[in-house]
Structures are given as C-alpha cells and as structure tokens.
Amino acid sequence: MSLLEIENLSIRYGDTAVVDGLDFELDHGESVGLVGESGSGKSQTAMAILGLLPRHAHISGSIRFDDTELVGATKETLNRFRAQRIGIVFQDPMQALNPYLRVGRQLREILVQHNLAEGSDVDARVIEMLGRVGLPDAERQFRSYPHQLSGGMRQRVMLASALIAEPDLLIADEPTTALDVTVQAQILELLEDVRDNTTLLLITHDLGIVAGYCERMLVLEKGRLVDSGATTSLFASPGHAHTRLLLAAAPRIDRADIPTPATGATILGIESAEVSYAERGRERLQAVHDVSLSLRDGETVAVVGESGSGKSSFVRALLGLVPMQSGRVVYAGAPLQGPVDRRSKAQRRDLQLVFQDPVTALNPQLRVHSIIDESLLVHEPQLSGGTRLERVIEALEQVGLDAGYLRRYPHELSGGQAQRVAIARALILEPKVLICDEAVAALDGSVREQVLALLRRVQAETGLAIIFISHDLAVVRAISHRVLVMYLGRLIELADNATLFARPRHPYTRALIDAVPVPDPVVAPNTAPLQGEVPSLLNPPSGCVFHPRCDHAIDVCANKLPVARTINGSRVACHRADELELGR
C-alpha cells in the first residue's frame, strides 16, 4: 500500500481552479519530483497535503496518508501528522524561520509539542540534529538568531526542523531556489544523505534537479497532471506536449550550440574598477576590486557570480549610478564621466539597463505608452506626438507585443510582458550597449527562451553589445560569447564561452560549473560539491579570497593576492593557473 494517495484533488478559489483533478501516489522510500511552471499548482498541492491552505480555498477530492483521509480532517488529526509523519522545507528560509526566536528554541518546540523528548534530552536531540545537517559548531548555532546565519545555514536549519520528528514523507518546496548555486549543490546532496528512507516529494521548476535527484517525476500544467513516470523514461521520450516544452526550454550547461566569438570593434572598456560603499559607523565595504573588461560591437559578455560577487555593483558603477573610487570607463574611444548626471545625453542614450524584476522597474502610475514614450521625450523632444506614437508602437512590435498593450498599467501585465516592455523602453533609444541585470531570472522557462531569442535577434540585426549579468550558468552558456566570473568583488576568470566551460583555469570556475544540475538523468549529479559559503564582504579572507574553500590551495594562496594574468587568451587570477588541469 502506498504512503500517500491523492485522488481527484481539486483546489478552487472562487471560480478559478488552481489544481484540477489531480491523481497520483507516493510509495515508501521513493523520491519524486513535482515539476511545472509558476502557477501550475505545485505549491498548492503541497499546502493541501499539510492542510495549510487559506480558509477561502475550496478543496475537493481525497488525500489519503497511510490510510487516513486528510481532506476535511480536524485540526487535531492534522497536527498529529504534521512534523511526525509529514515534514516540509520551504523555499525562503529567511522568511520561513521566525526572526524573533533563537534557532534552538524553534526546533525544541517541535519535540515538546509532540511529546517526543523530555527535559535535557530535548536540547541534546536538537543539537544532534543541527550537527547532522552539517552546521559547524551546532551548540553555538542553537543559540543563534536566524539573521545571524548565512542562507545555506538557514536552509539546513529548516531541513533539521522538518526531519527532527522523523517523518515518513518529506516535502521540499523549491528548497534551493533562493540559494547560491554552490550552496544549492550542497543542500541537494545533504538532502539525499540525510533523508535515509524517508519518501521525498521534491517540488521544483528546475529539471536539472529532478534529473539528478528524483526517481520518478510528475508534470503539472495549469493545475492538471499531464505526465508522470520514471525520470529516465520521461526525459528520453516525454509523453505530453507540455513536458516536451519544458524539456526544450531547460537550458543545458553542456550544450554544444553556443555563440562563436565576436569580431567587432571594441566599443566599451572598463579598466581597474574599484567600487566601495561606506556605511554609517563602519569601515568601507569593498564591493569591486580591480576588475577590467572590454566589450565589442555585437558581443555578449556575461558577468557571473554568486551573492557578494559584486556583479551588480560593477555594472552600476559602469553606468554611473554609483560612484567608482578609481578606474576608468572608456566608451567609443572617449572617457566616460563618473556620475551619470554628468554624462552627455548621447552617452546616456547609448548605454541602457534592464532590471531583474520587471514589475518594480516600471512606474505603477504610468501606462505602457507613457513609460516607453518618456525615453523619446528626453532624447528627441523635437519629434511630434504622432511620430513618437509610431516609434513606440514599433518598439513594442520589436519585442513582440501589439499596440493593444499601450494603454495597460504595469500591474495588468504578466512577468514576461512587463520585462518586454522594459526592454522596449531601453531599445527604443537604439542603444549601442544593453546591460541586463538578471533580466530573465524572474521568468519561467518558455518565456525566458522568448526573451533570450529576442535579445539574440536584436543583436544580430543591429550589432547591439550586451553585458549579461546572471547567476545561471546554463543560460550564460547559451547566449554569451565571453564570460567574466567574479567572486567577492574580484575578477576570477575571463574567457571565451567554449574555453571557459571546457577548460576552466580557476578552481572556483570549475566548482561553479560542476554545481549546476544538468537536465539529463544520464548525467550523475555532483556528489562532492564545493564546501563552505561565500564569506562576508566585511571580513574577506587574506590573500586569494577563494583560498579557504579551494581544494588546490597552497601556502602562497593565503598570503598573496593573485594578480590577473593572461594564459592562452583567458585572464585568470590564480597562483596555480598554469599548473592546474581542470578540464573534464
């Protein structure tokens, strides 16, 4: 008999059904992936199993756990199942943990509530669990507050809280989405190690994770189960069109089809940029340290890094939004003034930026038409209203939206539509350089593909140069000519797309690439991920900032800062760059 049986489950809010007629089963000990795009009903299903849906949700159908019906069950019944039979890990540990209570306090309450331990035993078990999830110095973490821990550590705490009562089923709802790539790899491995025979329902939009960690997978589209089966079979021959769509849209870091190196003239150069921030009463925070980059016409350079890498600061300094303490920017042969307000109109026009979150990047009080029109008003005030309208409509069409969108407000647009409006606002000025700061991070697979295709097309047609900031290496592989890797504000490696992925020269680059899950069940997941986490900018390690986490570190790495040098066309900042063989 199965552990969990879901039969004809439907969840409605008013007239809308977010889950419609769901049927599936989970067996003891297996790991199952629940995939789908945002809005497909994955989280809703998880909430339903635990009885955590809001009051105004209408649930029908059956959820049987170990022969007990959970739909419509009393609170007492549900509480008996929660934590003890079913545990859950949520996406964002900063929000999911109580910031006002110490970590130990939150965990011990679970044991106390369910009468699983008493007296001094309680604390001992909590500390033991914290150790099992890999927290260094578990006793100290017991007394810490969540905000004192890093992202990865918080998620480990969440995992501890989910498993401490030894449940039969563990639900993980996007457990790694809010984490850095290298930390994600650690958490996924930890999940695999620590769950033992507990059934795992892993909810994710990332097919790479499913391929590496789930034996079976269930595919949801708009609340309906459209495909299910063994992961290997489904990947090899998907049953439903939507599954095919998802697989096609999943970017692969090992893909062969990548852009060939660009050959245009250099249009933009940044030399030895230094960016630091001063906070009241504290020392200056060095966000970017001695980073140089050049950009050619028609070229896409990706800037890659995890949190604290300084990629956003670097680009904002380049644009003049934040001051650069030293270094210079050269555009079209002429030096560019620091602050954006001091640059010429022409210079400002030529460098445009697209932000990560399209909805906050658009003024909620203005209609789409006004938003795009404003750019023209500033730079070409001599145009008549009619001509401007024509140009705005052209810009919309360029991004694949028709004139019907002109009168809409930002809150009436979907994420993909809003991002395209933001791009249209930038492109209407016919810039020479477009900077995309995590521009596709908030978008679903298929929509993301469309936006990337749009960028490629515009680049091919107009010779637009693009700086593409991203934490997603698979996407970077797909669209960039060259890649710049940053860590804690330093330049780590700068190389051609092909070279970087095939033969990285820096251990960090190697670890970063290895950490990305590949959407192919044949490719084994990384069982020895990079340890540790990105150190705080307030207290950077001495010498090479990566050395505490580096497998190849030697004495000099802790003492001397490596200078970037060129080796076979790649720039690397590593003392051992010429000796290490990191290709696979």
Binding site: L50, L52, K75, L78, N79, R80, F81, R82, A83, Q84, I88, F90, D92, Q95, A96, L97, N98, P99, Y100, L101, E109, I110, Q113, H114, Y145, H147, Q148, M158, S161, A165
Partner: protein, 307 residues
C-alpha cells in the same frame, strides 16, 4: 544591547533640552504679564515684584537661571499661589493623575490587546465585526462626549456610581474616570493589535509553525505574539501622550484635583511658572517613558540588537 541603550539615553538628552527651551520661550513670548489682570499696582510694588521674579533680566539670562534651577530640582515659585513653589504644587497634584493614568493605561493594554487578538484569530466572524464596530465608535467619539454621557447614564439615571469626585471617598469613584480615560485607547490598541496580528499571522514563519504541528495557542504564544506586539509597543509613546491629554478633560469633567486640572487653571490664570513647570515635568516624564519603550523594543526585536 548596552550600546543600543546608551545611544538611546544620550539621544534623549538633547530632545529634552530642546523641549524645555521651546516651552520656556513660548511662555515668555506670550504678551501680557502675569499681573496684568489684577488691579493696578503701585509702580513701586510692581518693580519689587519684577525684581523678585527676575523679570527684568534679558531672556537668555532668565533661561540659564531657570535651567540651573531645574538641575537642582527647583521649578521656581508659582506666580499665582504666592508662597508656594511649583514643585510643591506639582507634587500635590501628580500622584492622583498618576493613579488615574496608570490604571487607564493598564486597562487599555489588557482589554485592547485581548480584544484585538481574539478579533484577529476569528477574522471576519461576528465577534470580529462586533469588536470592529465598538472600536470604531471608541476612536470616533471624543472623551468629552463619552464622559458626560457615561455620567448621565451611570451616575444620574442608574445611580450605580458616584457622579463627582468629592461626593465620596471610596475606590468606586475611580471607576468612571478611569474607564472614560481608557476607552479611546482601548479602541486604538485593539485595532492596532488586530491589524498587526493579522499581518503577523499571514507571514511565512507562522505557516512553518503550523506545518510543524503546533497548536493554535502555541503558535500565537510562541511565534505570533512577540512580533505582533511591536507596533503596539511603538504606539505606547503616543498613547501616553494621549492619556495625558485625556486626563485634562477627565479631570475637568469629574472635578478631580490632578495635574491636568492644575494646568488648565494655571493657563487661564496666567500662572506661567506653574504652566511651564507642568510642561517641563510632563515632557521629562514622556521622554523617559519613551526611552523605556525604545529599550523594550530592543529586547523584543533581536535584529535591532545584534546587527
């Protein structure tokens, strides 16, 4: 924690100083002296009086004199009640106001927080709507409307409680004034608690707590109450100020010889030192209480304490 407290204490001092100087200037900027409305005094006598009260000195000098007096606890002599010092008068009237105010505040917090929490837990139920209706009237009807109506009802018509302060001497005479004073604050605090609790109950970590199988009372007690109380705690500053304001009205209506009544009398009598003294006294009290509130906030919210 220590550093946080120290900063707050240091920050309070210039605040207080500013208030005292401001009040001082206002009192002395008012046209008309304290003796204007009495029968005309012979010039000699008037000169003597002015000398005794140092009224002829330049303003800055008077200010310094006043401030140094303050440091020694001397608030000056009353203009109106010759022979009695302001400190004396305040000392006589304050304890009563303190009792009223403290009781009202306690009542407001206990009833307000409970009502607000219950309303939040039973959101949109009949109970919730009743609480909302009551609190809406509570914040919409001024104290000076409530008070006479309550007196009319309970003292005159029903004769359950005494109408005036001096008519009896038992504890029952506290009842109406305290309730009247507390009512608007009960309403405010209840609404604030309800809104804050609803907000906290919607947060992710509450969902986590419920997912861990914790019962409702445990979730509220352990996880929700603390953060939900933060806005209420922040409101304590203005709440104290509101109770002080309200006490002026309540003391007038019920004829209670407290500090509020003394202030109004003093203002109408142009007893400027008394008035200034009361303002300084209250300001000090409030600044001090706000300091306590700030520190308490630091205790409740660890993110403020540990950067």
């Amino acid at each position: 924690m220590f550093r946080y407290t120290l900063l707050r204490v240091l920050g309070a001092i210039p605040t207080l100083l500013l208030v005292i100087v401001l009040a001082f200037l206002m009192v002395h900027a008012a046209p008309g002296g304290p003796f204007d409305d009495e029968r005309a005094l012979p010039a000699e006598v008037e000169a003597n009086i002015r000398d005794a009260y140092h009224l002829d000195e330049p303003l800055p000098k008077q200010l310094v004199r006043y401030l140094s007096g303050l440091l020694q606890g001397d608030l000056g002599p009353s203009y109106r009640y010759r022979g009695r010092s302001v400190s004396e008068l305040i000392g006589g009237a304050f304890p009563l106001s303190l009792q009223l105010g403290a009781l009202a505040m306690a009542l407001a917090i206990i009833v307000g927080v409970s009502a607000g929490t219950v309303a939040a837990l039973r959101q949109d139920s009949y109970l919730d709507r009743i609480v909302m209706a009551f609190t809406m009237t509570g914040i919409s009807i001024p104290v000076f409307v409530f008070a006479p109506v309550l007196v009319l009802l309970f003292a005159v018509k029903l004769q359950w409680l005494p109408a005036g302060w001096s008519s009896t001497s038992g504890a029952s005479r506290f009842l109406l004034p305290v309730i009247t004073l507390a009512l608007p604050q009960i309403a405010y605090i209840a609404r604030l608690t309800r809104a804050s609790m609803i907000d906290v109950l919607g947060r992710d970590f509450i969902r986590t707590a419920r997912a861990q199988g914790l019962g409702t009372m445990t979730v509220v007690r352990l996880h929700a109450l603390r953060p939900a109380m933060l806005p209420v705690l922040s409101y304590m500053g203005p709440a104290i100020a509101a109770i002080l304001t309200g006490s002026v009205v309540v003391e007038e209506i019920f004829g209670i010889p407290g500090l509020g009544q003394a202030f109004v009398r003093g203002a109408l009598n142009r007893d400027y030192t008394l008035v200034l003294g009361i303002v300084v006294f209250y300001a000090t009290l409030i600044v001090f209480l706000n300091l306590l509130v700030d520190i308490l906030y630091g205790v409740l919210d660890p993110r403020v304490r540990y950067r």
